[in-house]
Amino acid sequence: MKVCRRCLYSNLHPLGIIIDDQGICSGCRVHEEKNRLDWPKRWELLEKLVDKYRCRSGKNYDCIVPVSGARDSFFILHTVKKRLGLNPLLVTYNKHYNTAVGVRNLCRLRTKFDCDIITQVVDPDRVKRITRATFRRWGSIYWHCLAGQTSFPAQMAVKMKIPLIIWGHHQGLDQVGMFSHQDEVEMTRRHRRNHDLFRQEADALVSDHDFIKQVDVNPYYYPQDEEIAAVGIRGVYLGNYIRWDTKAQHESMIDLYDYEAIPQTRTFDTYNDVDCWLHSDLHDYIKWVKWGYGRATDHAIRELRFERFSRNEAVKVAKKYESIDPTSIEKFLEWIGITRSGFEFILNQHKRMDIWAFRNKKWQYSETWSQAHKIAFENQENGKKKGKAPLFRVRKSKLVSDQDENFILIGKGTYENPKEQKPINPLK
C-alpha cells in the first residue's frame, strides 16, 4: 500500500490509482492540467462539438441534461442553456431519499431555466427489494441511484432520438486521473459497469431469494449497443472543456439562481449532495467502513489540489469528519425494514481487511494503512496553499412546502429566496 505525497489518496482507492516514481498519484498529475491547459481554446472545441447537434427545425430537443437539483446541476444547465444556447431536455432519476432542500432546488431549477423535465420514479417497493439485495451482496445502499442515474438518461436518449447527453465532470478523471482532459473521454458502458455497478449488469440481481424478477430491474438496463449506434448517442463531459472547480461554480450559481446550501453530516462541503438524506450521511459512513475514508477526505483533497488547503489541514479536516456517526440511519432502517444489528452484521462483511484490523475489541486502521500514511506524511510535498481557509456558504429557505423530517418521494417545492446564514469554516 502506498499513499500519495501530495494528496491523501492511497492506491487502494476503489476506482484504482497509480502512484508514480515521485510518489505523486495520477489524480494529482491530471489535476496539474487544470493550470496548464488553454481553457478558452478547449471551450471553442466544445462549442464546435455541440453546434452540430443543434436541432435547427426546433422539432426536437438539442440535448439531454441529466440533473438531480444538486451537485453542479445548476452550473451544467447554466452552461448548456445560457452559454451554449442549447434547448435541453432535463431528465432526473428519483433517488427516493430526497430532502426538502433538494426538492426546493429542483423546483428552482425547473422554474428559473424554463426547461422541460422528465422524472423517473421507480416503484418504492421494487427499489426496497433491490436495495436489500445490493446491500447484502455488495454492501451498497446507493446501487439503484447510480444505476438509475446512469441508465435513465441513455434510455431517454434512445426513446426520444436525442443523440447528445451532456454530463458535468467525469468522477474518475477528477478524483484518480483516469483520463487526461485532452482524451475527451465520453460516457461508456464499461465505466458504468466497472465503477458504478460493481462489475455487474442489472441482470445479476434477478433472483428468487431476493424476490427480484426480470421486470423489476428493467429501469436499470443500459440501452442495447444497436440502439446506441442507431441514434448515435454520445455522452460528453463538460469537465473536459471547462476548468472544473465545483466550489467556485456553486458560489456563482448561488448568486445567480438562489441555490440553497445546507450543512451536511459527514463533510464540510455545503453545496454537493444536499438533495439526499443519505449521501453525505449513511452512504458515506458505509464508504468509510468499507474503504477507510469518506466524502470529507474527497472534498479535502479537492480543496487541497486547488491550493485552498495545506496537506496538514486536509488531514485534520478529514479526521474531524470521518468518525461522525450518521444521523439518518434510523430513517433508512425503517424505510428498508431491517434491524440495526442486521445492518451492522452485513456491513462488517464488506470491510476491506487490508485497511481495517480488529484489535483491542474494536476496528482500527491496519498496520499497513497506518504505515503507508505515516511514510507519505513524513515525505509530504510542500503545499502551495494561498490565502485564508475557504468558507462554505449556508442558505436555507424559510417557506416550507414539504415535510422536512423524512425521505420525500415526490415533493412540490418552492423557489422563494433563501436566507443567508453563517458560513462554515472547515478548519474551525
Binding site: 497509480i18 436541432c55 434512445v158 484518480v176 483516469m178 449506434a229 442507431a230 448515435g232 455522452g235
Partner: protein, 286 residues
C-alpha cells in the same frame, strides 16, 4: 492483400488496466476483464494483455477471466521467466505468450518454449527508440539503450524462432499522434516474421497510414479504445469507408452512420433521426 488484424492492447499495472503514456506515466482505467469484454463485443480481432510491473507475473485469474469472457485469441505478454510460467499462462487460457526480458537473459528457454508450444504461440515483445537518427533496442527493465541495433536484434529474434514480433515504441506510446512508420516499415522489410505494431494510434488515419506504408500483419490500439463507446466498431467502420481492408463480420451497428477524423460518430440528420421513430431497432447477430 491480407487485412491486418486489429489488436486491442490492455496494459496491466498493479492489477489494473491502465493508460500508458510514454512508458512513464500511467492512468488507471479499471478492471482488465471489463475492458476485454467490451473490446470483444465491439469486434476486436485479438486481445493482448501486457503486464508492465517489473518482477511480477500476470495474475492467472485475470488471464483466465479474460480468456473465458472473450471469443478472440488472447496474448499474454510479460512476467514469463520460465517454461513453468509459460505453462501456467497457457493453462490459464492464454493463446500466445510474449517474452521480452527472457529473450535477452534466457534465449535458450524461449527457444525451448517455441518447441514445446509451437512457434505460433510465442511472441517476441521488443521496444524500439530512435537514438542518434538510428533505431536502437530499448532495455525496459534497466531503462536504457541496449547494445542491439535493429539488424542484430532481428538476428537474435530469428535465432529463437518466435512466431510473431510485438513492436512497441516508447516515444510514441500513448501520444495518439500517429505511428512510427519509418521504423515499422524498416523492420517489416528485414524480417519475415509477422509483426504486430503498437504505439501512437489516435485516429483511423493513423491505422490506414501504417497499413499502407508499412503493412504489418497486425496493428495494436491501446488507450484510444477506452476513450469512447464502441471504439472498435467505429475504427473498423472508418477503415471500411475508405476502402482499406478490414476484418468485418462483426455486428454492423454503424453501417448507416458517418464518423469524424477522430473515429467518433457524427450526428445523423434531423430527418434520419425522425425516421428512426418508425423503425424497429433490433439486436443483430454477428
Amino acid at each position: 492483400m491480407n487485412a491486418p488484424r486489429i489488436v486491442g492492447t490492455i496494459i496491466v499495472r498493479g492489477g489494473l488496466h491502465v493508460q500508458s503514456l510514454g512508458f512513464k506515466q500511467y492512468f488507471p482505467l479499471g478492471c482488465p476483464v471489463e475492458s476485454a469484454k467490451e473490446f470483444d463485443r465491439w469486434g476486436i480481432d485479438e486481445i493482448a494483455l501486457i503486464l508492465l510491473d517489473k518482477n511480477f507475473k500476470l495474475n492467472l485469474k485475470t488471464i483466465s477471466e479474460v480468456s473465458s469472457a472473450v471469443s478472440v485469441p488472447v496474448a499474454a505478454v510479460g512476467g514469463v521467466r520460465s517454461i513453468l510460467d509459460a505453462k501456467a499462462y497457457v493453462s490459464g487460457g492464454a493463446d500466445k505468450i510474449g517474452f521480452n526480458y527472457s529473450l535477452f537473459k534466457n534465449p535458450q528457454m524461449v527457444h525451448e518454449a517455441t518447441k514445446f508450444f509451437g512457434q505460433q504461440c510465442i511472441i517476441a515483445s521488443i521496444d524500439i527508440v530512435h537514438y542518434k537518427s538510428k533505431l536502437q533496442h530499448w532495455n525496459y527493465w534497466e531503462n536504457k539503450f541496449s547494445q542491439y541495433n535493429i539488424t542484430s536484434l532481428i538476428d537474435k529474434i530469428k535465432q529463437v524462432n518466435v512466431g510473431e514480433i510485438l513492436l512497441n515504441f516508447p516515444e510514441k506510446d500513448g501520444s495518439g499522434t500517429g505511428m512510427d512508420l519509418v521504423a515499422i516499415k524498416k523492420i517489416v522489410k528485414i524480417t519475415q516474421i509477422p509483426v504486430i505494431a503498437l504505439g501512437g494510434v489516435g485516429s483511423v488515419k493513423h491505422i490506414v497510414n501504417c497499413f499502407k506504408s508499412a503493412n504489418p500483419s497486425a496493428i495494436g490500439i491501446g488507450n484510444r479504445l477506452s476513450h469512447f463507446e464502441h471504439s472498435v466498431y467505429l475504427f473498423k467502420k472508418g477503415l471500411k469507408d475508405i476502402g482499406a481492408p478490414v476484418r468485418t463480420g462483426v455486428n454492423p451497428c454503424y453501417d448507416d452512420s458517418m464518423i469524424d477524423h477522430d473515429g467518433r460518430p457524427i450526428n445523423k440528420s434531423e430527418k434520419e433521426l425522425e425516421e428512426l421513430n418508425f423503425q424497429r431497432i433490433e439486436p443483430q447477430m454477428p
